[in-house]
Amino acid sequence: MSESQEGQDGKRLLYCHCAYAKVVPAKVKTEVLRRLGESGRDFEAVPDLCEMSAAKDPQLEELAACENLTMVACFPRSVRWLFHAAGHTLKDSVQVLNMRASSAQELAAELGLPADSKSSVADKEAQGATE
């Protein structure tokens, strides 16, 4: 993955799925992932930042070098020190949004995602095919 994966608004967006635990409400994760996909924005999704930290995943170094990064994960203190544990320091400009403490609506608003859209053309076609 190249170093500059910024979307049209210049922000790089990362979503952590927290795949190994159930501490993030499943409904929040599902809704955030759905809204991110629906928004049309470029974003990256990783299974579990804790696992990446333990494995010293090279992608963490790339993310730590990023000035304009927003991560949707858990508590900022946890994310910051997980990166540190892998040998990297997050820049002060990095924004960490907390799926353990905020609702999906609040997170979507923070991310500037468009309001819930109506069904896409594909969904309408799929609905039509089943009728």
Partner: protein
Amino acid sequence: MIATRTKETAVLLMEPDESARLGDQERLDLLSALLEAGHPVARRAQIEPGTTPLAVLAKVDVGRESAPLIEISARSPGQVVDDVSALRKTRQLDKSAWTPWFPVIDYDRCTNCMQCLSFCLFDVYGADADGKIEVRNEDNCKTNCPACSRVCPDVAILFPKYTKGPINGDVVRKEDIEKESMKVDISALLGGDIYAALRERSEGARKRFSTERDESKALLERKRCLKALKKDLDIPDEVLMSLPSVGDIEERARRAKEKMIKRRARSQTVQDEKPAPSREEWGI
């Protein structure tokens, strides 16, 4: 210690235009399946120039010749996951294997008292070349056991996957430090003001077991402490059942002593080689 991962290329979900766009549920199901299987994925409208993804997932042929294209229109999320797994050959997320549960140190709060290193029986902690505490063997940490964070006097140990704050990374409030359930007073069980004793002996605390202590007594003390504090420390039963034997502890103590002797010998050699500072250098 967990094996360090090498750099891997990403899987890209391409939706360059309306004709290639998935339905919302279809996209969600696919992304969720890939993430649950351990595959990182990027959703993109365009491929970054100069990059070669591991695979491109798309509803239609997006004309990408240098990377394998997985046309997802007629494949279930499970089938797509199998295709990606076959290409990647690694990173199969196995939740029955090691769970990434391990202590994470907040070095803004850590005072390097080494109490965690002294307390942990599973060799999770170590000290680096400068004598600074570090998490060395993440995979030795017992899943769901947050005991070391409960005996840290400075609330400096996080377990990001723990349920309660501030151990889960939440902001540390003054009342958290005061709260009885947060700062477990092991001195009541072990006798004496253990916290003060450990702080005063910060040099000795670098070793797992001091030369003055009886290792088997230390193990018995810890076992008694852990059983009595099981509730307060939130230690899972399987951790109490898997405490190391006296022999294991004695072996670790022997290795720790050897390391300490070597470190001191190195330190003495450096001191012997350096001339003592003059009065002028001291500024006298």
